[in-house]
Symmetry: C2
Subunit: 333 residues, 2 copies
């Protein structure tokens, strides 16, 4: 069975189970990303929102709420909220990364300009803020405010940690929580909160989203060094060329001989890279078992995600979330 | 009496009256703009927050709350909130405008980079969001969420209206509400709401902030065409060179002869400007009375701001807000 065939299976099952809810979320997203006055806004957001991401974050919210027996209308608002926050961060990320492509299409900052990406991102943040206020839940607002701060802090941290060989595993973890896990955790947690789930279930939902997000991001960083041997979805070595301190490199640097350290200083800190350097980096990662131990970490986070699901009600959606955690690490397993 | 001598007199009186509250606001701002993990954040924000803006927005919140008899702690949170939102928009504006200076100092995007300005702006937005959630008032959150959306929409609108001679007065009003008046209005309104003021007073506070902000921005746009004859605080003709459709130009364009219209098309739409064009623009503004009618509008908005104060309790702070509305238009009066 090829990777393509299994690709989105757990997400597809979630999408099927949650189809009616997702229709409502998509309709709400389309309504709320519109602007009567500034036509540039729906142009930019439609380009991105309709480009067909997997909608994993809103599905996490819907799944968490339904799994906890929610029957009200506000899980739809919260699902749209997390997708808006995600889309806003993508718009700002593209400015920060000076990206030219996202999801195989030109980025908004290339099609329009950086200005539009910054301001339309701000607009989507403010729209997400209005949506969550409509739920009338101060606790939900508190969770999402804290997640927003973690996301923003993680982004700044990533910027200042880039090309810095002193970056520790603790900093890496903080960066990927900001980049991915904080919004995953908030997405699942608010689903439980809006459903009025008991505290232990809310905590389990937060822990699930957090562990799933961390596993997801570590796998992403591993694939960049081609651990699956096919490099699907990413260009092998992009992170190396962009001099990013991801977990495998942090571990290889920690175990480096003086000579190896000189290699990392030249290629990552100074950015002086030439032919054969990526191969040498891969050799050093392999020599210190950096890919293998990082892979073990990803598997452990996925196992943790599955484990905490035990505290949630028995439900077909719980099985799908369990499968999703397995799927996230399938590409490196 | 020169303009410098009267310069900040009403703001100075407000600052004196509210000194203890403002100390608390400044302390809270310093605490909340810090980050244990990303030292870049306090560097960038300190550069801007400590640069000594007039703190007019937080003072509006404090004045509104105290004027309505508030005795609790949350007006300080809300004052810090509006200053954070303002600072975040300044950071993003500097990226959008590609500015090199703000308040006489190099902008953050010049000292660090656009990336830091975008991400630290996002961080301040998220911190403002946490601060307002702490007040526990859903109504305050609703007001600030709506203000955020108006601000962001206005910014995008300004971007797409730039250099567009079809820009109407209604669009101009929407742009300056987004740019200035929406946050002024939210700043005063939340002060009344947190104080539990009666509905008619809350409405009056919103109307005061709105009218004050509009007057403030129209005056700013007038000074750019040197109506006060001294051009203090702005470089005469900046808006013309940047091809902005401000109210005086919108009015002159509406009354233009075919020949005059060709001038505006060339200088504003096409950006083909040469020696003598600013003088010609000023001649056309004068010919159609565009500066005079715009000045009358600014005075009318200031009068409206003073007028609505009649619905608020008799209080020394009410007198200071009244003086502030007069002061805002003093430069063109």
């Amino acid at each position: 069975m090829s990777l393509d065939e299994t690709a989105d299976r757990p997400l597809d099952r979630l999408a099927t189970h949650l189809a009616a809810d997702m229709d409502a979320v998509n309709a709400l997203i389309r309504r709320r990303m519109a602007s009567d006055h500034a036509p540039r806004i729906p142009q930019v957001t439609a380009h991105l929102v309709e480009a067909g991401g997997k909608r994993i974050r809103p599905m996490l919210t819907l799944a968490a709420a339904r799994l906890c027996g929610y029957g009200g209308p506000y899980h739809v608002h919260l699902a749209a909220t997390v997708e808006f926050i995600h889309t806003a961060t993508l718009l700002h990320d593209d400015v920060v990364d000076e990206s030219a492509q996202r999801r195989g299409r030109p980025t908004a900052n290339l099609l329009w300009d950086n200005k539009s990406s910054v301001l339309v991102g701000d607009y989507l943040f403010s729209r997400s803020f209005q949506l969550m206020v409509e739920t009338g839940s101060l606790r939900v607002l508190d969770i999402l405010a804290n997640a927003s701060a973690t996301i923003a802090e993680g982004e700044v941290l990533q910027l200042s940690a880039a090309q810095d060989l002193a970056t520790t595993e603790a900093v890496y973890l903080r960066v990927i929580r900001g980049k991915t896990a904080a919004l995953f955790a908030a997405a699942t947690e608010v689903g439980g909160v809006i459903a009025g789930a008991p505290e232990d279930q809310v905590r389990a939902l937060n822990a699930y989203g957090d562990a799933l997000g961390i596993a997801f991001q570590i796998v992403d960083d591993l694939l960049d060094y081609g651990i699956a041997g096919d490099g699907i979805g990413k260009n092998l070595g992009d992170d190396f060329r962009e001099r990013k301190l991801t977990l495998p490199v942090i571990r290889a640097v920690a175990r480096a001989t003086p000579e190896e350290r000189a290699f990392w200083v030249r290629t990552i800190e100074k950015g002086d890279q030439g032919a054969g350097d990526l191969q040498e980096a891969l050799r050093l990662l392999d020599r210190h078992g950096a890919l293998e131990t990082t892979r073990a970490d990803a598997l452990a986070w996925a196992a943790k995600a599955r484990d905490v699901l035990g505290g949630l009600p028995d439900h077909p959606l719980r099985e799908m979330l369990d499968d999703l955690a397995s799927y996230v690490v399938e590409r490196i397993n």
